[in-house]
């Protein structure tokens, strides 16, 4: 078996590998190269060394975006996962209409980010206008919480499905044994269920953290970075550096920011994976 697999490796893997190389590795390499260049379009790049990185890192809007993104990621990750897990617990308890509820909670995830952003923008602006508060374009606080509400609404359903799958895989004999030993529901949750669904938690945390860091569509359509870049997250900041600035030097700076951004997301994800993996238990 092993031998055959080895033999046919090129046949089965090559097409995917080729697609991966063409669609990911090559553009990535080119992007890395361009981050050291001054260019208007990819065809006229001139090597300039690390000056792009210096200007990217010293750019005040970039560091502001970084802290805004961190604040957003921290709160939204906790909220999404706690709420999704709670709903998953409720919906694995054999109550009537479970499937209907699961479908309803999952549905927001089927709508695209741009559309969601504009819908919520209208909703929030109506609400803010009714309570006589400055509208989203002038209101950093509303923009921040608006993004969090929007992301919770969109992501909770998806994470809930993953948690439900995890909870359904908890062996009933363990639960039964816990019950016989006289464990309370709280104890069962903390000592049995959560350790057993640790793999799901790893996946969900990974997804929510990386999604929060890479958030773009919703940010663009809900607040557009207003007021004056205050609610601009990293991805939008990179986009604006690249496109909204005049002068050829800004393309390279945007590209350098994108590389820094990539490294940040990778480091963040690796730390998180290491931290949660170590808590996983073998069944």
């Amino acid at each position: 078996m092993e031998k055959t697999l080895k033999k046919y490796f090129p046949v089965f893997v090559l097409p995917t590998l080729a697609a991966f190389i063409i669609g990911f590795i090559i553009p990535f390499g080119e992007g890395l190269y361009l981050s050291f260049c001054r260019f208007t379009t990819v065809n006229n790049a001139k090597w300039t060394g690390i000056s792009n990185y210096v200007r990217a890192i010293t750019d005040a809007t970039f560091s502001h975006s970084f802290w805004f993104t961190v604040a957003f990621a921290a709160v939204s990750t906790v909220l999404i996962n706690v709420l999704a897990f709670y709903i998953a617990l409720t919906l694995t308890r054999n109550i009537k209409g479970t499937n209907v509820f699961r479908t309803i909670f999952f549905m927001p995830n089927l709508i695209g980010g741009i559309v969601l952003g504009y819908i919520w923008q209208i909703l929030f602006n109506c609400l803010l206008s009714n309570i006589a508060q400055p509208l989203l374009a002038l209101n950093t606080m509303a923009g921040y919480w608006g993004l969090i509400v929007l992301m919770c609404w969109q992501q909770i359903g998806y994470m809930m499905i993953i948690y439900i799958a995890g909870l359904q895989n908890v062996p009933p004999e363990l639960l039964e044994a816990a019950e016989i030993d006289g464990a309370s529901r709280w104890q069962t949750l903390w000592k049995v269920k959560i350790p057993m669904v640790m793999p799901s938690i790893t996946i969900c945390l990974f997804l929510t953290i990386t999604n929060s860091f890479k958030l773009f569509d919703q940010n663009l359509s809900l607040t557009g970075g207003d007021p004056n870049h205050a609610t601009e997250m990293l991805a939008l900041n990179i986009y604006n550096t690249f496109y909204a600035r005049s002068g050829a030097q800004w393309k390279g700076i945007g590209q350098a920011k994108a590389v820094v951004f990539f490294l940040l997301v990778v480091v963040m994800a690796l730390i998180q994976l290491k931290a949660t993996r170590s808590k996983e238990v073998q069944q």
């Binding site: 400055p134 909204a244 005049s246």
Partner: protein, 437 residues
Amino acid sequence: MEKRWIALALTACLSASLLAGCGSTGDKSAAASASGTQAAGKVYYLNFKPEQDQQWQDLAAAYTEETGVPVTVVTAAEGTYETTLTAEMGKSDAPTLFQVNGPVGLHNWQDYCYDLSSSDVYGQLTSDDFALKGDDDAVYGIAYVIETYGIIYNKALLEKAGYTQDDITSFDSLKKVADDIQARKDELGVKGAFTSAGMDSSSDWRFKTHLANLPLYYEYEKDGMTEGSVTGSFLDNYRAIWDLYVNDSTCAGSELSAKTGDDASNEFANGEAVFYQNGTWAYDSIKGLGDENLGMLPIYIGADGEANQGLCTGSENFWCVNKDAPEEDIQATLDFMNWVVTSDAGTSALANDMGFVSPFKAAKESANPLVKIANEYISAGKTSVDWCFATMPSEEWKNTLGSALTAYAADQSDANWDAVKSAFVDNWAAEYKLANG
């Protein structure tokens, strides 16, 4: 053993069909480009003006029918021209004809611009003022439309309020009339004197760019132009006119941040407001009021010498030809441009369908009534206000000013106006340095 052979054969078939698939599409595109070269080049025009998209498509089709040269017209969505252009220029089939908005735009794209000094279309210009030249004096851009903006007003409503255009000759009289209309809005059946000064991105350019042109123009007139900085000596006037727009409006200042360009044009077209700051290009969306009901006023800001102030006339639409395009495509593009500005079909489309005033020798008179009004101002001896906003250092400068104006509209405090001042003056120097550093 046998199974293995079958499997191998199958995979071979599969990959063969894959390759064949690639091959056949490759042939097709090769064939397409071959037929393209047979027709001696092709034209790809990246159009800046969404409101004239259909007219350009029709004109392109007419040209293809007449000469067999394929012309593709793609229009960028409002406010995304630079983004689209950057993306398109990186492709192998890049636009052969694109636009820049003036010297600052040219600064970004000069490396891609073909020198038009010896082109036929340059020879068709009525004045050298309409050519955009680089530092090396080569002609990189050709203005193809001259536009005019001011305060468009609804004649019937103004008369109903008991005024005529003759009553408005300065900022003070404009304010008096507007305040009076605003005070009697229920009696007159309007929602406000001015349409909502929406600060959504579909509308904010009317204020962060076009209205900001006036203090800039008067500053340049009085103090001259300094490279890389402005003094903001007319910002108090800017504040006065902005206050007027915000206070004598159809909605509260705090709601302006979410108001769109369509909101304003609908309010005006439905007779809910008397004044509407916009330009000749807006005619299509407000023509329902009837040509006899449309008038235009200069944007008075209370500067000295405004008694003789006319409308704001200029151009931020310059055609540029992509220097990196294949030789035959460049030639095809130059031929197309020349055809547009000289042929009967082309000049009629520019003047009648698009309503443009074009600075070319063979240009026809525009059918746009707003243009006629603009011409009346010129023949009455009024001084047109130049479009100085082509000197604004960057898009980012305009956006920052827009944010500050929006914040000020919601809360008209001195502190917020100081933020506008800083966005105007300090940020000008900062952005100039960033763009040229």
